[in-house]
Symmetry: C2
Subunit: 256 residues, 2 copies
């Protein structure tokens, strides 16, 4: 029975896409069957796993707006056990196309059931806003992972995100859990980063992964090669951090 996890944070540029791609690849390296769903019209996760936009594949636009089969949109990556469904720029129109439709935020939930059992993990990369696309992801998910850049604005945004998640749990998806907060782009030399980690660990209402993702140039270079970091530079600090995270998640080790 696959676990559906949304990678979510309305604050922009905190490492949602980087986490979805590299956690997915690392779970696949541990022989878990993984599907990455790109739900952001920016299509960054699609680029980062090497999608060729000239291909005639189905995308999440076809699945959500045209009603095509989600199973037929699945594409292989170079990594065994790792598959994905690309996004499309036109997904930005979902909000308007379905403005009148009360079911607009449940479309993914209705579709995803057909493929849930084919994978151990389904990871959904969300856009940086709390719009219909993110709501579709949160309603279809079992749990969420919150990437948190170790910066002041990102920390402040946590309160807002917590309120939203509670609203979703109350009315739209009562079983939604938060698996954990993941610190990203951590630079141990700065007082700010250490302060954010300390404040969040003390105050956050959720579990905090003991794995911390450091700032590492490989993680921002790999997307230009269309590869996850563990393919682009397996021994890099960034790739190894996501492998540790995958191990922590599979092992279910409780860090703080």
């Amino acid at each position: 029975m696959g676990k559906i996890i949304s990678i979510v944070n309305q604050k922009g540029g905190v490492g949602k896409t980087t986490t979805t791609i590299n956690l997915g690849a690392s779970l696949a390296a541990y022989k878990k069957k993984v599907l990455l769903i790109d739900l952001d019209p920016q299509c960054n996760a699609s680029t980062g796993v090497g999608y060729d936009f000239n291909d005639e594949n189905l995308t999440m636009y076809d699945v959500l707006i045209e009603g095509d089969s989600i199973a037929e949109a699945i594409i292989d990556t170079k990594l065994e056990n790792y598959h994905y469904i690309p996004s499309d720029r036109d997904l930005v129109g979902l909000e308007l196309e379905f403005a009148e439709n009360p079911r607009r935020n449940f479309i993914l939930k209705e579709q995803i059931g057909a493929i849930k059992d084919k994978f151990d993990y389904i990871l959904i990369d969300c856009p940086p806003s709390l719009n219909s696309l993110t709501l579709n992801a949160l309603i279809a998910s079992d749990s969420v992972i919150i990437p948190l850049q170790t910066e002041y604005y990102a920390m402040e945004g946590l309160v807002n995100l917590n309120n939203t998640l509670n609203l979703i749990k109350k009315s739209l998806n009562p079983t939604l859990k938060v698996d954990g907060i993941l610190f990203t782009m951590y630079d141990k030399r700065t007082t700010l980063a250490r302060m954010v980690v300390k404040d969040v660990v003390e105050a956050a209402p959720y579990h905090v992964y003991s794995t911390i993702i450091p700032r590492n140039i490989v993680l921002s270079e790999a997307p230009s090669h269309g590869e996850p970091a563990i393919l682009y530079s397996k021994s890099s600090v960034g790739a190894r951090a996501y492998i540790r995270l995958a191990n922590e998640i599979i092992g279910g080790k409780r860090g703080k």
Copy 2:
């Protein structure tokens, strides 16, 4: 006659808020009368200029959704010539509250005329998405500045942003111009950053400011003190870069 400039990029975390706050403060230091409008429900720009959320002030929610007077929502900062209008978390509801209203993307334009002549520059901080809030900003604006993080995904997003701006110009705001692209968080030690600058300068359809904003810890520490960098640490590399940018914009020097 004031100039209304939107600071816009749908890619998240590229330095929109940091640019709006610090360019605004630097223009004010050059004795220009400046208004900062925070149009992002995350309220980062409001935090960054020291807004106290316990105050009973009017916000952009009251202006856009309740129809209150924009002039009455203006608040002073510690800097002479520098004023702002705070945002509100509930602004995220604009899209739904006005889904039926064909004028929903023109509300700011209708309101802002009343105060345009009181300022030399009105800078609007936009959220990381192309929703009704950003459309309100683009339709009300004379021009835009595009902060561009020197990273691969941010560079890729430029194509998308260009398409959107052309659509807006064609149908909603024919006089909208792009004042320039501003490179942010530049780390000269990385090949990636140098590659992005080179590729964008060669290919971009817009003017590129000769001022480049380097990655500088002061720019991420200042928000936790509710101050622009030129108040928090005037001689820092980050503060001085935004002062250079303000000088370049006022002087109208054409860099490349």
